[in-house]
Subunit: 295 residues, 2 copies
């Protein structure tokens, strides 16, 4: 793709998000263990995929990364809270996350639950920082984010995932889990950008479809990597899904079919970007990168 | 107070809030246990104190209850989520709430955590419903609510409370816990109303001070009732705070001093209302009612 350097592109924007988050949480607050717990997970080496997607989508609409940093970073707070709560003993009961002890292993369950609650709440405060966007656009974008994160989105997907453990997998339930647990927040990450920028409904819908597709592809690839991936590189145990009796795409369709499905989703996602022209090059490359993870 | 009937006033507005919430959650969603868990706690007989305060504050600014129902009811979602999470085994480990089994006792810990997460997220969606208020006022009010609910507000207070269990009580820590754990959300409940209505900064500050004071008084009275209250009337065990080694006002200052402190706070709260004139009669009576609970 001409001279576009994805690695450099990602690193630059990841650094912007990290700097914004570091600045935002630079001042410790009382009680200190809550602050430490919250920042422990927030700065545990996350890839910042969702903020990156929001920024790239915003750039595809002609905006600059700096303008959308609060909103893009707020989505990372929601993602981080969901990981802390998902790792809890009552949920997935994970001891390791990105190669480090999970939040509750370090700070205890009570503080881990509260750190998650605090991050989720703070996300909506951070999302409404600044005066770059019209309050009306901000309101619409915030509702997209809240809807994708809550009972009808991510939380609903996680609940269905927990409730489906050790049940016979069926196609329809698996689709529900993937669409809600992972895809919803990724979809929202790219959809808020054209909404904030005041773009046409056509562009908003195209971006939404792009996000839905790469969100699904991302989860499928994640499930594949859980089976075939390298433990050290992933920073967590592989085979964990199978051990827990989790419903996954490869468990239901096999690895080759799952790979084909992910590729098809990414191809369709890229098609959606035509309306944004050359400015969407980063979104295209990120979509391809998701697939390349499993090669 | 002339012909003002507090009981009738409260019942009418409580019915409005209940009807709004019932309507909002009238349609079950997937997964059903999440819906059931969330509505179980939301309709477990809560007094709707915070929505009631928001409505009364809005009426003191010349508004009508119907206009602010989504915002007032959204605060109840935040209150309800906090109760579900506070009751968890890793937190206060309570089996009973308002005379009924706590959420995790009925639905299990995982679904209880997720129901709390869903309610908190939905609160921000509900808060931004409708077109009654200007998006700019709505944004400012939402930030007041998020700030009061998060790490620097309610969640911070709950964390400090947990961390202070079985420690020697000190005045400053107790003040921190009360101001954050209970008072912050009550303060926000009345402060959002003048903000949404576009009132003067003077009125906003007066309302904020009123809310802070009655929030503190409410917590002190709650702690007193935990010692002297009637188990059946409260719907929960009395003496629970002492058993858990919780830091409370009466434990530190004694019951009589605590009563005097609560009365003083309420008197000062009522003074703040003078700028609203006769329209603030309900807020005055509610403040007096808090004190009457302990008589």
């Amino acid at each position: 793709m001409t001279d576009f350097n994805l690695k450099e592109y990602i690193e630059e924007r990841r650094a912007l998000v990290d700097a914004y988050l570091r600045g935002y949480f630079s001042k410790p607050f009382r009680p200190l263990p809550l602050y430490e717990s919250l920042t422990y997970s927030l700065f545990a080496g996350g890839k910042r995929l969702r903020p990156l997607l929001a920024i790239s989508a915003f750039e595809a609409c002609g905006g600059s990364a700096e303008e959308i940093l609060p909103q893009a970073s707020a989505i990372e707070l929601i993602h981080t809270y969901s990981l802390i709560h998902d790792d809890l003993p009552a949920m997935d009961d994970d001891d390791l996350r990105r190669g480090k002890p999970t939040n509750h292993k370090v700070f205890g369950e009570a503080i881990a639950i509260l750190a998650g609650d605090a991050l989720l709440t703070e996300a909506f405060y951070m999302f409404t920082e600044g005066d770059v966007f019209s309050p009306a656009n901000l309101k619409r974008a915030l509702r997209i984010l809240a809807s994708a994160s809550g009972a009808l989105g991510m939380v609903g997907g996680q609940a269905e995932d927990i409730l489906s453990e050790n049940k016979e997998p069926d196609e329809e339930t698996l689709e529900f889990i993937h669409l809600h647990k992972t895809s919803a927040l990724i979809r929202a990450s790219v959809t808020v950008s054209p909404v904030l920028k005041g773009e046409s409904e056509e562009k908003i819908t195209a971006m939404e479809q792009y996000g839905k597709n790469i969100g699904l592809a991302f989860q499928i690839v994640d499930d594949i990597l859980d089976i075939i991936g390298d433990e050290k590189r992933l920073g967590k145990k592989t085979g964990a899904d199978q051990q827990k009796g989790k419903m996954t795409y490869p468990a239901l369709y096999g690895i080759e079919n799952s790979k084909a499905k992910a590729k098809k989703l990414v191809d369709e996602a890229i098609e959606q970007l035509s309306v944004f022209g050359q400015k969407a090059i980063a979104l295209k490359e990120i979509a391809r990168y998701i697939i390349n993870r499993m090669e």
